[in-house]
Subunit: 355 residues, 2 copies
Amino acid sequence: MGTRGRVTKVSVADLAAELDVSTATVSRALNGSPAVRPELAQRIREHAEARGYVANRMARALSANVSRAFVGFVIPYVDTPAYSSVAAECARLLSADGTQLILTITENDPERELHQLKDLVASRVAGLIISPSTHILEASKQLLSNLPVVEFHRACGIAAPGVFSEDEQAMSEAVLHLAALGHTRIGYLGTPEALSNGAARLRGLHRGLELAGLDRGAVAMRLLEPTTDNGKRGVRDLLDGSRPPTALIVGGGALSIGAAQAVHESGRRLPDELSLVVYGHPSWFALSDPPLTRITVDYQDLALRAARLLNTVLDSGPARGGEPEPQFVTAQLHLAGSTGPPPKRAHASDRKSRR
Amino acid sequence: MGTRGRVTKVSVADLAAELDVSTATVSRALNGSPAVRPELAQRIREHAEARGYVANRMARALSANVSRAFVGFVIPYVDTPAYSSVAAECARLLSADGTQLILTITENDPERELHQLKDLVASRVAGLIISPSTHILEASKQLLSNLPVVEFHRACGIAAPGVFSEDEQAMSEAVLHLAALGHTRIGYLGTPEALSNGAARLRGLHRGLELAGLDRGAVAMRLLEPTTDNGKRGVRDLLDGSRPPTALIVGGGALSIGAAQAVHESGRRLPDELSLVVYGHPSWFALSDPPLTRITVDYQDLALRAARLLNTVLDSGPARGGEPEPQFVTAQLHLAGSTGPPPKRAHASDRKSRR
DNA sequence: ATGAAAGCGCTAACAT
DNA sequence: ATGTTAGCGCTTTCAT
């Protein structure tokens, strides 16, 4: 008995007919309206249960013409902790409210993104949590401006609230840490300035240099899209010159993975021959030896804030009022075994010879 | 111009009124029905575009009463490559058909799972891609049996097709590899037999032992839920005895991470003092030194098959006909630097003394 | 080739 | 407290 044969096809009308009451009463009972006699309500609910009735969210949403049935979750990638852990947490938090997450992956392609945003609008999502692609289209911004939106990780200049990691300080600390150890030639591998977080990290870098009294020109830089391959490429590039940097800072999760590999492959010993500061979720670097000095972000906290922010925005409609206030989760610099004093040139040749 | 002010509220009726045609005609034109005069159709489409019309998928689905608008994606965790990379690929493939993925994370909790399955049914998903929780409830199975379902990674004994990694062979190879190196005391850390893939790996282990002429009793085993912490715990446990194994095989991604860390923390040198075979996505072990001998699965391929299978199932309804044929993606054993001959006891004490 | 109208499953006025 | 009815936005017979 119970839910047999094919997908649920019991409707409110069926229940109403079977119990010889009106659809309205059934609806009220099922939604816990106080307007229905408790005993009747109970009977209706039991019958619904017995018949395996499951309300159709689409019909409900259609009728209510405003519902929190769905929320879009738009990200460039999902197979990286910076996104997957936020996705996990958001799904968790929202599902508690009975809201379902529609997962959408842009692969950082603006066209795909636009297309998917349209689909999301078509699904009448209540709102959107998004980490925009690097070169978002005007049309996409247009769509976003008419929807309750929360940004995270990356901002694209629309009037929406967001949650971001506050990387500037950690970044600047990283520079100061290296400078204090005696490094003067630092290499930086980061994401493009077109990415809001890329820009933020760069600002941190510059601030650190300034505070350390180092010249901007002294920093060799590579700004690349965040992929593991680019991480490798970038590091090889940076280490390749005649006077390579003695320390490397990587500003980006995927880049860091590739970077760490490339450094390892280069055969340089950490921290004796090179200092390295990476960025990202600890799980990625758990196995590295020595443990890497790194900048980490509490993604779970970030997700929590994003979900909360979304709820706020859902209650007040899209981009209303003045400037929405962005929130920040501050990144932390953790010292570990991959940073140390620069190799001393004078002795370096001695050392080398002992090989 | 274009999509101004608030969320799209242009409806078919609006368009019809504005162009002085019937809603039926508009609908036909928009859906490319040949029954409408090309020139008119063109005009309608242009007008719709100009007015920023976006069809309401819910209404459409409701009316059609069967649609591929949504598919549920139900997994225990998402912040692990085994799931996140499959999610990414499935979202990609399905979005090409205009199908959206509703992401649902059970955290391996049967109650949550049931609840979420109900929500998914309520959303009238066309079908489901699921990796069931360890102890799935009967009620959940019940729901699943009335829906087009594709399983992956884990099977829960419903009559649904699925895609799984074929771990038995790789597992058995791993054992033979270790046996050939001379190991006789092997430790195994894996997932519970209640998990279908845990059971499969165990079968592989046993088969390997048999082929190697080793006694099952010779294997110290820990079967734990797949978490990083359990990986650590399990390894500590296994290495703790008076005659600890000389080689460790880990059957599970999250377990492997923890295991590798614990091994590292134990100070044992790989492969001289201990041999280690891990399981999982290469990205997780990219930074380990020495590179780890490991069993890997092509998750992208697996996702591709899952998506294809879903399409098939969607075309034929739930669990119809006889036994659905499961598909397999064979896991591969990659040899690397973490496996070698066991430490020779005779010399072991010598070695120890040199400390 | 086009229109009128019914209905998908539900909720929310508006009665009673 | 319960019933009637009118939609929500779309597709789809059935007419014309």
